[in-house]
C-alpha cells in the first residue's frame, strides 16, 4: 500500500457514531406526473415518498428493495439528475436540494454515480480514454502530469490495463465496462458515490470481483457509498448500514447485524429469505413474497405492504405505521414488528 492509500484507509476507520453526516436526506419525495393516453386523466406516480436517511463520511449505506421501489429515483435525486418534488438534501452541512449553476458544478465533483447498465453507460463512439477523461474535460481540470497520465492511473486503479485507453467500449466485457464506469466516477475525486445496482447486470462470477473492487476503493480512498441493490445478498459484505425501501418508502433502517440477524420488518424478512446462504429463518421459516409490487400511482392504504404481508391485520390497512425504533435496535415502520432472531 502507498502511504497515501494508508492514510486514506486510516481516515476511513475513524468511524465514530457522533460524526457530522456527509449526506443527510429529509422527507425526500418524488412524484412523476403522468398522463394515460393523449387526453387521458393526469395522475401521479409516487416514486419516492418521504424518505429520510444519513450517510457519514466513509460510510457505506445499502439501499435495498424490489424493482420499482424508487431506488434509482432516489439515487438520481442525490446526484441531482432529478429535481425532488419536496424534501431536503444536505451535503456537508449545505442545503443542496436546489443548488444551481456554478455551485452545482462544483458540487457534482463531490457526488458521482455509477450506473447499472454497463452497455448504456459508456458512449460507444468514444475511446475509453475519452470516457474516463470526460469529467476532467468538462470541468476544465488539468491534473498534474497531464490528462492521459491521470486516465491511465485511474484505469490501473480499477484493475484495467492502462495501455487500453485507446480502445472502444465494445471491445470490453461487461465487467470491464463496469470498471471503466467506476474509473470515470473516480476521476473527479468524489467524496460520495451513488452506485445504482452496479453489478446486477453482470455474471455472478464477475459480480464478486466488481464488489471487491468497490470495497477496496472505499477503504483506500475513504469514500462514502450509497449502494443500491434489489436484494440483500449483494450488499451483505459491502454495507455497514442498510435501508430497506418498499414502494417509495423506507420501511426499515439498521446496521448490517440488525438487518441480517434480527430484521424487524416483515418485508426485510421476506427479502432476507431470498438470500441463498441464509439458512435458518426463525419461526416463520422461508418466506416467499407473492405477487408484484403494487402500482405507485395508486398505493395501498395504511401500510403499503399490507397487500402482501402475511402478518397483516385490520389495523394495517387503516393506519400507516410510523418509522420508529424497534426492539432489535433498528428503526422500522410496522405495527407488528418481528422480534425473533433469524440465524
Amino acid at each position: 500500500m502507498t502511504d497515501l492509500a494508508d492514510s486514506a484507509a486510516s481516515t476511513a476507520t475513524t468511524t465514530t457514531p457522533g460524526r457530522e453526516p456527509l449526506l443527510k436526506v429529509e422527507g425526500l419525495t418524488k412524484h412523476f406526473p403522468v398522463r394515460s393516453g393523449l387526453w387521458g386523466k393526469g395522475s401521479v406516480v409516487r416514486a419516492v415518498e418521504n424518505v429520510n436517511f444519513e450517510v457519514k463520511p466513509g460510510e457505506t449505506l445499502g439501499l435495498v428493495g424490489e424493482s420499482g421501489c424508487g431506488k434509482t429515483t432516489t439515487g438520481r435525486m442525490l446526484v441531482r439528475l432529478l429535481e425532488p418534488t419536496s424534501g431536503k438534501i444536505t451535503f456537508e452541512g449545505e442545503d443542496i436540494t436546489h443548488t444551481k449553476g456554478n455551485r452545482l458544478r462544483k458540487l457534482r465533483q463531490d457526488i458521482q454515480i455509477i450506473f447499472q447498465d454497463p452497455y448504456a453507460s459508456l458512449n460507444p463512439r468514444h475511446t475509453v480514454g475519452r470516457i474516463v477523461a470526460m469529467p476532467l474535460q468538462v470541468n476544465g481540470i488539468d491534473p498534474p502530469g497531464g490528462v492521459k497520465k491521470r486516465v491511465q492511473e485511474l484505469l490501473e486503479t480499477v484493475g484495467l490495463n492502462p495501455e487500453h485507453y485507446n480502445r472502444y467500449p465494445h471491445e470490453f466485457s461487461g465487467g470491464q465496462r463496469q470498471r471503466i464506469g467506476i474509473a470515470r466516477a473516480l476521476a473527479l475525486k468524489p467524496k460520495l458515490i451513488v452506485a445504482d445496482e452496479p453489478v446486477s447486470a453482470l455474471d455472478v462470477s464477475i459480480q464478486a470481483q466488481v464488489v471487491n473492487l468497490l470495497r477496496q476503493l472505499q477503504r483506500d480512498l475513504g469514500l462514502s457509498f450509497v449502494f443500491i441493490a434489489h436484494d440483500l445478498a449483494v450488499v451483505r459484505h459491502f454495507c455497514e448500514r442498510i435501508a430497506v425501501m418498499y414502494l417509495g418508502r423506507m420501511v426499515e433502517v439498521g446496521t448490517r447485524e440488525q438487518i441480517y440477524e434480527n430484521p424487524a420488518h416483515p418485508y426485510t424478512r421476506a427479502l432476507l429469505s431470498a438470500v441463498p446462504d441464509v439458512t435458518k429463518l426463525g419461526g416463520h421459516g422461508r418466506i416467499k413474497l407473492e405477487g408484484d409490487v403494487p402500482s405507485p400511482i395508486d398505493p395501498p392504504s395504511g401500510c403499503v405492504f399490507h397487500t402482501r404481508c402475511w402478518k397483516a391485520q385490520e389495523k394495517c390497512s387503516a393506519e400507516a405505521p410510523a418509522l420508529v425504533p424497534v426492539q432489535n435496535g433498528s428503526i422500522a415502520a410496522c405495527h407488528f414488528p418481528e422480534s425473533g432472531e433469524v440465524v
Binding site: D117, P135, L186
Partner: protein
C-alpha cells in the same frame, strides 16, 4: 480526507481477497485490435459488392461532372455551340444515328445542333450541383430542427413537430409547379432574360424547403432515445454543459443515420430535378440539364434515333439507382444492430 487514487501499488499482494479481483481483470477482450465503430462500418462496406459497384459508379459520375469543363476542352467542343453546318434544312443532323461522328460521339441535338455528349455531361454537372446543394441545406436544416426538438422537448418540441407535420402534408410537386413561375415573374419582367443561376437557386431553395422533414423526424427520434442513455446522464452528473452533451455525446452517435439520410436524399433530388425540367419548370436554357435532355429526346422516340431519348434517360436512371444503392449499403454498414 484523502481522495488520492490508489496507484499501481494498491495491486501489490494485499491481505485481502480484494487484491485477487484487482489482479485478475477479465481478459476476454485480448483478441481485439482497437477499432472504432466507424472503422468497423468501413470494413463491412468494403466487403459489400453492391456497395463497391455503386460507389465506383457514383464516383465516376461525380468525377465526370466535375471535370466536364476539362473534358470539353480536350474534346474540343463546348456544350452550347450550335453546329448549324451539320444540320439539314429541316434542322435534323446530317449523317447516321443523328450525326454521330469522330467529333460528336453521341451526335447532335436536332434543331440547335448542339453536341449531345457535352450536353449530357454538363447536364449531369447541373443535376449534381443542385442535388448536393439541396441535400446539404435540407439535411442540415433537418438536423438542427430535429436536435432542438428532441433535446429541449416541451412546447418547443410540440411546435416544431406540428410545423414538420404541416410541411410534410404539403404536396411538393403542386407547390413547385405553382411557386416557381410565381418567383420568376415576381423577380423578372416579362421578356427579361432569367439567368440560369437564378433558376438553379430557386430550385435548390424549393428542394431545401421540402427536404428537411424526414431528417428532422429521424434526428428528433434519435435524440429522444439517446438523451436518456446513461452515458449522457454520466456527462450531466459530471457537470457537462448542454453544448458538450449535444456535440460531444449525442452528435457522434447520430452522424451515421444522418449520413444515410444524406446519401438517400441525393438520388431523390436528382430525380425530382429531372422531373421538374421534364415539366419545363426546371433549369432554363442555356444551362445544360439532364431532365430537359430527356424532354427533348422524346421527339426522337418514333424515329430510328430513339437512342437520344434512351441515353439521357438511362443516365438519369443509372445515377439515381447508383446513389440509391450506395445509400442502402451505407445504411446496412452503419446499422447499429450489426455493429454489436
Amino acid at each position: 480526507m484523502s481522495n488520492t487514487p490508489a496507484t499501481a501499488d494498491s495491486r501489490s499482494p494485499g491481505t485481502e481477497d480484494t487484491a485477487v479481483a484487482v489482479l485478475q481483470p477479465e481478459t476476454a477482450a485480448k483478441a481485439f485490435v482497437g477499432r472504432s465503430p466507424g472503422e468497423l462500418a468501413w470494413i463491412r462496406l468494403k466487403r459489400d459488392r453492391t456497395a463497391f459497384g455503386s460507389f465506383i459508379t457514383v464516383v465516376l459520375f461525380i468525377v465526370v461532372a466535375l471535370a466536364s469543363p476539362l473534358i470539353s476542352k480536350l474534346y474540343g467542343v463546348t456544350p452550347t455551340a450550335g453546329n448549324a453546318g451539320l444540320l439539314n434544312s429541316e434542322g435534323l443532323p446530317i449523317g447516321y444515328l443523328g450525326g454521330i461522328s469522330a467529333d460528336h460521339w453521341l451526335g447532335l441535338e436536332a434543331g440547335s445542333g448542339r453536341d449531345l455528349f457535352m450536353q449530357l455531361i454538363f447536364g449531369l454537372r447541373t443535376s449534381l450541383i443542385i442535388a448536393f446543394s439541396a441535400a446539404i441545406i435540407s439535411i442540415s436544416t433537418g438536423v438542427v430542427i430535429g436536435i432542438i426538438s428532441g433535446y429541449f422537448g416541451g412546447w418547443v418540441d410540440q411546435a416544431l413537430t406540428w410545423f414538420t407535420d404541416f410541411a410534410l402534408a404539403f404536396p411538393f410537386l403542386v407547390f413547385a409547379l405553382a411557386i416557381i413561375p410565381i418567383i420568376n415573374t415576381a423577380s423578372y419582367d416579362v421578356g427579361e432574360e432569367v439567368p440560369g443561376s437564378f433558376r438553379i437557386g430557386v430550385i435548390i431553395g424549393v428542394f431545401a424547403l421540402f427536404g428537411w422533414m424526414t431528417t428532422a423526424r429521424l434526428v428528433r427520434g434519435q435524440i429522444l432515445s439517446l438523451r436518456e442513455r446513461e452515458y449522457v446522464e454520466a456527462a450531466r452528473a459530471a457537470g457537462a454543459s448542454s453544448a458538450h452533451i449535444l456535440f460531444k455525446q449525442l452528435l457522434p452517435n447520430i452522424w451515421a443515420p444522418i449520413l444515410v439520410a444524406f446519401s438517400l436524399a441525393l438520388p431523390g433530388f436528382i430525380a425530382a430535378e429531372a422531373a421538374l425540367s421534364f415539366l419545363n419548370i426546371g433549369v432554363v436554357e442555356p444551362t445544360p440539364d439532364l431532365g430537359r435532355l430527356v424532354y427533348y429526346g422524346r421527339q426522337w422516340l418514333g424515329t430510328p434515333d430513339w437512342a437520344y431519348f434512351l441515353i439521357p434517360a438511362s443516365a438519369v436512371f443509372i445515377v439515381v439507382l447508383a446513389f440509391n444503392l450506395l445509400g442502402d449499403s451505407l445504411r446496412d454498414a452503419l446499422d447499429p444492430k450489426s455493429s454489436k
